[in-house]
């Protein structure tokens, strides 16, 4: 094997990684600067920085659509379904990790099976159930679907995590007269916070960005989510580049900023998910 001088290898490593990061940054950068240009400038000077920060297309976007309502809907749906996923899957995981009863192993596999079932394929049935429950075209419909979608992964991660908690902790609480549910809330729940964070973080992106279910379950304008609104606005104003780029930027910037602030937690959560498998 040819041995490079250390410096050469290092330079090569940086060059490759810089090219890779450019391929990530540039499209996103292009999206943001284009959204700040005037329509004519987009075509005459596509690569350069905007001559002035022109917010016209954003003003127009907020005029022609109820963008703040879509944003609010996306936040409500994501937060609520994450909370319900955490609550329900930690309760299930506690029972499956700490109690043996007939069918407990089967139940564990029953929930885990959801990891490989693409929920999209059940959409025909989901629509009919939502219509039957009179919650078709509501935020609740999306929240329930995302909850069902998130439970398998939650149970998968949390059951393993709770199993690792030594039984002595629960036993000493039992001696102190705590009932089983109280043990869960007082002892277990505080200890599994890192795992709860991992579950929330891994579920956050697919729920926030989901397009399939809003497309099929939502009709009314004031219950639309950001991905659905993005697609509809794109279809409607395809030729108006300035507006389109502001639509794309408005859809992604909040998540990008959130990610940049929380990136350490994101990577920790994802890594723990990877190693669990």
């Amino acid at each position: 094997m040819i041995k490079f001088k250390n410096g050469t290898v290092r330079t090569l490593l940086y060059v490759i990684l810089i090219i890779y990061s450019m391929s990530i940054f540039y499209p996103i950068f292009l999206m943001i600067i284009t959204s700040l240009k005037e329509n004519r400038e987009i075509f005459t000077r596509p690569y350069s920085l905007p001559q002035s920060f022109n917010l016209d297309s954003y003003i127009r976007l907020f005029k022609i659509s109820n963008y703040l309502i879509y944003f609010r809907n996306s936040i409500i749906i994501t937060l609520t379904s994450l909370l319900i996923i955490l609550a329900l899957s930690s309760l299930i995981s506690y029972v499956l990790a700490k109690y043996r009863f007939t069918g407990s192993r089967f139940l564990y596999f029953y929930f885990i099976a959801g990891l490989i079932i693409p929920i999209k394929l059940g959409t025909i049935g989901i629509i009919r159930i939502m219509l039957g429950l009179h919650i078709f075209d509501t935020l609740a419909a999306l929240i329930i679907v995302y909850t069902a979608m998130g439970i398998p992964f939650g149970v998968f991660i949390l059951t393993d995590f709770i199993r690792l908690i030594p039984e002595e902790l629960s036993n000493s609480a039992r001696i102190d007269g705590c009932s089983e549910p109280i043990i869960f809330f007082r002892i277990i729940l505080p200890l599994i916070r890192p795992a709860l964070a991992a579950v929330a973080i891994i579920n956050f992106i697919p729920i926030w960005n989901d397009f399939w279910f809003p497309l099929l379950l939502i009709r009314t304008d004031n219950v639309k989510t950001i991905p659905l609104a993005t697609a509809l606005l794109y279809g409607q104003y395809e030729t108006n580049f300035g507006l389109i780029f502001s639509v794309l930027t408005a859809a992604s910037l909040p998540v990008i900023i959130f990610y940049l602030i929380m990136s350490r937690q994101f990577i920790k959560g994802l890594s723990s998910g990877a190693l669990k498998g």
């Binding site: 490593l13 596509p46 109690y99 498998g277």
Partner: protein, 309 residues
Amino acid sequence: MTEVFRKKKRYFILLFLAGGFIIYTAFLVVPILHSMFYSLFGGPGIVPKEFVGFQNYIQLFTQNPFKERFFGAFGNTIKFFLIVTFFQNVIGFFIAVLVTRRFVGSTFFRRIAFLPTTLSVLVAGFLFTLILNPIWGIFDKFLEVIGLGFLVRPWLGTPSIALVVIAIVTSWQYLGTSIIFYTAGIDAIDSEVLEAAKIDGAGLLAEVRYIIFPSILPIVGIVTILIFIGDFTQFDIVYAMASPYASPRYGTDLFGSLFYRAAFFPIGRGGWGMGMGATVATIIFFIVTIGVLLLLYAFRMKGIGRKKE
């Protein structure tokens, strides 16, 4: 006394399981079973009422346009999956090996890698559609500047190229996930083992071949299975870059877009009625399940084989 205690215990177990069990069963398991059930029904109207047995399946596999669309989408989905798997596993692994070296800025690169995954597939799809748009010409001009102008072509207008392009955009977006998974695996390798290898004079290639690769093989399996499940129901990228009609000429049609049209479009505009839509969903479900089981089997076998060596 013990009897009462036990009963109480049981009661609380049921209570803890109930909420999640009901939602998971009613909105994930039952809808899948519902599709299997309705795949046996046909007839006009939104809700198929006429029991037709396996006729939908027979039609799907033997009659056009069903047969043509189904096998077209099947072939495209496999190609799409292979391209994405190649990029995410090979390039993902390569970059993961690079960013786990000790150097200034390694955490920065790790964090950046995941950035595209935070975007929605739609945004990535629309963004690259615009970048590849010949009228705006950002990408084409770039190729001309670096002297590759002869490569310029209608990227999303040629069936064979369009599928590759959307597969590359998907890989661009999800490469970060495999990089993070692989770096997690490499970081978890006992540093003593790596030190020992270095003392024995193992170069980077030997280290990758004999230590890194075997120990992250299970993660390669997870990444591949995740890609498999995602790609076999991928819809958003087709919608964003090629419309639900998977233009040009169904060249980018994947199982996700086929199912969408078949089940939810009006008959005559690409829809095949709900019974046939359920049939398509059921077939995809079985393909995904069998595929995942095969992949699980394949990766587990390799892992065991390696340990025995």
